[in-house]
């Protein structure tokens, strides 16, 4: 089944000259200065357009965009609990499908998009997400990954990177900070064999919007994982947010790729990576790391990149790359 490949055959790309003017997510919300997550969310909403039905898990984006009078949504929006965005999106899709089948209302082509942070995706929401991906609902799930529970005040999640300081992974004599490697959610999503998976960074905003647009274009479930800098939680200057989102890709820590019908496509090749140290030193959450810790991170990042390259090669035999 080449569901995504087929659906994307005549895909009309968003280009710098053709950026959608619609803003389903408006200004006037109450996100922190330099929030990379809200920027990603706004771009994603633009890419989907006015047909968006938003399903929001508990998290920063819920709390900065929904309370009156700073409500920022111009489209149907439902806040669910922390763990169940994908399950509620499944219900929204199935309920609409049933009514459309009965002819109770026309198929208006609405795009159901569930979004959650890294905690709501990789920790508490993982079961609901896996169920929804497995059942094959026609919806898109966006993980806005700021690498910790920022809404409750910077606690670690399973997407917090190795070595990072959070309030529940405090570095000290008996701890390096976060001691586990970041959970690889895009690969977990891809393992479900869904039509479309992508990673994105707000530093490449056109790329980000195109990936979200592709995700809502393909039939069946799609998963987009967006790296979302959080200056407040990462202890870095707000004006460095985009730069941080660029460095993480250029250091090969967060590769930009797509998985289309199981085929891995590198969307940004990093031929001359910057050392991971360059990326880590800009954020105070990594300040305590010693050279040997950084060397370990570099080693694992290199190994992960090689593995991804091998997957790209293995799933694109005809290109001979």
């Amino acid at each position: 089944m080449m569901l995504a490949t087929e659906a994307l055959k005549d895909f009309e790309k968003i280009t710098p000259k053709k950026i959608p003017e619609v803003e389903p997510f408006s200004q006037g919300h109450r996100a922190c200065q330099g929030c990379g997550e809200v920027l990603a969310l706004r771009l994603a909403a633009k890419a989907v357009g006015e047909k968006l039905i938003a399903v929001s898990a508990t998290g920063c984006m819920e709390i900065i965009s929904s309370p009156y009078p700073q409500t920022a949504w111009k489209v149907p929006w439902i806040h669910v609990a922390f763990e169940n965005a994908a399950a509620v999106a499944s219900g929204v899709e199935a309920g609409r499908k049933a009514l459309i089948r009965k002819g109770r209302f026309p198929d208006d082509g609405a795009k159901i998009v569930a979004f959650a942070g890294d905690g709501g995706t990789a920790d508490i929401g993982m079961q609901a997400l896996s169920g929804a991906l497995e059942r094959g609902h026609d919806f898109t799930y966006i993980c806005l990954d700021n690498e910790a529970y920022m809404n409750t005040g910077v606690q670690r999640s399973s997407a917090t990177p190795y070595g990072a300081m959070t309030t529940t992974s405090p570095p000290g004599k008996k701890s390096k900070g976060q001691f586990t490697w970041k959970k690889n959610m895009p690969m977990i999503a891809a393992a479900h064999g869904i039509p479309y998976v992508a990673t994105a960074s707000p530093a490449w905003h056109i790329d980000l919007m195109n990936k979200v647009k592709k995700a809502v274009t393909v039939p069946g479930p799609a998963y987009v994982h967006i790296f979302s800098p959080c200056p407040t939680g990462w202890r870095c200057p707000p004006e460095q947010s985009i730069e941080t989102a660029r460095q993480v890709v250029n250091a090969r820590i967060f590769p930009l790729f797509e998985v289309i019908d199981g085929r891995f496509v590198l969307t940004r090749d990093i031929k001359k990576p910057i050392p991971v140290k360059e990326y880590l030193k800009g954020q105070r959450r990594f300040r305590h790391l010693k050279d040997e810790d950084i060397a370990y991170i570099q080693e694992r990042v290199d190994a992960d990149w090689e593995r991804l390259m091998a997957l790209v090669k293995a799933t694109n035999p005809e290109t001979g790359e």
Partner: protein, 374 residues
């Protein structure tokens, strides 16, 4: 220190060496402090992937032999319910601190509520008894957490600390006594020959001695209805034996478990009964009432479950009215209504949550009742 921090310190003083939790306002500070403090005493802190896993992990931790605890609030407490029932059924000592916020659902995450009181009592399926304490100050967060561990170890069940956002976040002086002055209780270890050991056969105290995994005793722990050996036994007789025991061990010891403080009860015509942060509002109102010459008394509940049934049943024959302020639409007051059986008036002073009940509101209610009953 604040109440959440005091809860953490109380747990450590009681011997807690394993904490599994998940961030949730307004209980996050308990977990945060645990993540710093437990490694200092060679304990283990784990941030789990959700509250279901947190509650399950402390059951496992307890069977592993460590005094174990979790903390949470509203939605997390709801997620823990199935595993709380598992802890009741498997008679697993552990402590759950619920720093209550206003619900239902996400509700008011940063603001106070006391509306999980009946959920604490009945939230998991099946019929059982529980123990729940309600602190009204950071000092009591410290003291009651120790008490919660002691009760859980003694009676072998999850014990709940039903705190609230105001108590959790208020900063007050907390006196931590020297370690040798802190009384701690440890689960009774079996002394029998491992070949003869019955993990659910009560001894003379009415509670079964508990071996930990690895102690050399054969253990079979299950949430299925089980016999004294711990093996699933799916009969009505086995069910009766097990449920009677789970309920009996609390009901039969209710006098020893229940704790409350009283003020001005000797000549009181009207009594305000309260718990948690509302007990402090009530105290203010009662003192003001006394200054105004009203014969009003106070009962401050330290234990909320089991409820002091005999005490209130008796009290209802001596007073004109019982008043209960609580930050919900009437939960624990249902117990008062049940026990008073019409012998005295029972007045609800309710609040949907998001703010504490002002002493002036309670005083006005006291004055109203005096006017009506003149």
């Amino acid at each position: 220190m604040n109440g959440d921090d005091a809860c953490c310190e109380g747990a450590l003083a009681a011997g807690c060496r394993f904490f599994a939790g998940y961030p949730i306002t307004p209980a996050t500070e308990v977990a945060e402090r645990m993540s710093h403090r437990l490694p200092e005493v060679d304990g283990i802190f784990i941030q789990m992937e959700d509250e279901i896993a947190s509650m399950a992990a402390i059951l496992g931790g307890s069977w592993g032999g460590a005094k174990s605890m979790t903390s949470t609030s509203g939605p997390g407490f709801s997620l823990m319910m199935e595993n709380i029932g598992l802890g009741i059924c498997t008679e697993t000592p552990c402590v759950v601190c619920n720093v209550q916020r206003a619900g239902p659902s996400t509700g008011l995450p940063t603001l106070v509520g006391q509306a999980d009181m009946m959920q604490a009592r009945w939230g998991s399926h099946g019929h059982y008894e529980i123990i729940a304490l309600s602190p009204s100050s950071p000092q009591e967060m410290f003291d009651f957490t120790i008490e919660a561990f002691n009760l859980s170890e003694q009676y072998r069940l999850p014990v709940m600390i039903m705190a609230d956002e105001v108590v959790g976040h208020m900063n007050e002086r907390v006196v931590i006594p020297p370690a040798d002055q802190i009384v701690t209780v440890e689960r009774t270890a079996p002394t029998s020959d491992p070949a003869q050991y019955l993990p659910y056969q009560p001894d003379a105290s009415g509670i079964a001695p508990m071996a930990n995994f690895g102690d050399g005793y054969h253990m079979h722990v299950t949430g299925l209805t089980h016999d004294a050996k711990g093996y699933p036994t799916m009969t009505a007789e086995a069910q009766a034996w097990m449920v009677d025991r789970l309920i009996g061990k609390i009901r039969d010891n209710a006098d020893k478990i229940i704790s409350y403080d009283t003020m001005f009860l000797d000549d009181a015509e009207i009594v305000v009964a309260a718990y948690g942060i509302s007990a402090r509002s009530a105290k203010g109102a009662v003192l003001a009432g006394r200054q105004a010459g009203l014969k009003v008394g106070l009962v401050k509940l330290n234990t909320v479950w089991p409820f002091p049934e005999e005490f209130f049943s008796h009290l209802s024959t001596k007073v004109k009215a019982l008043l209960m302020p609580e930050i919900n639409m009437g939960q624990m007051v249902l117990e008062l209504e049940r026990l008073a059986q019409g012998r005295c008036q029972v007045v609800r002073i309710t609040h949907p949550g998001g703010a504490i009940i002002n002493p002036s509101t309670i005083l006005a209610a006291i004055q109203d009742v005096f006017e009506e009953t003149k």
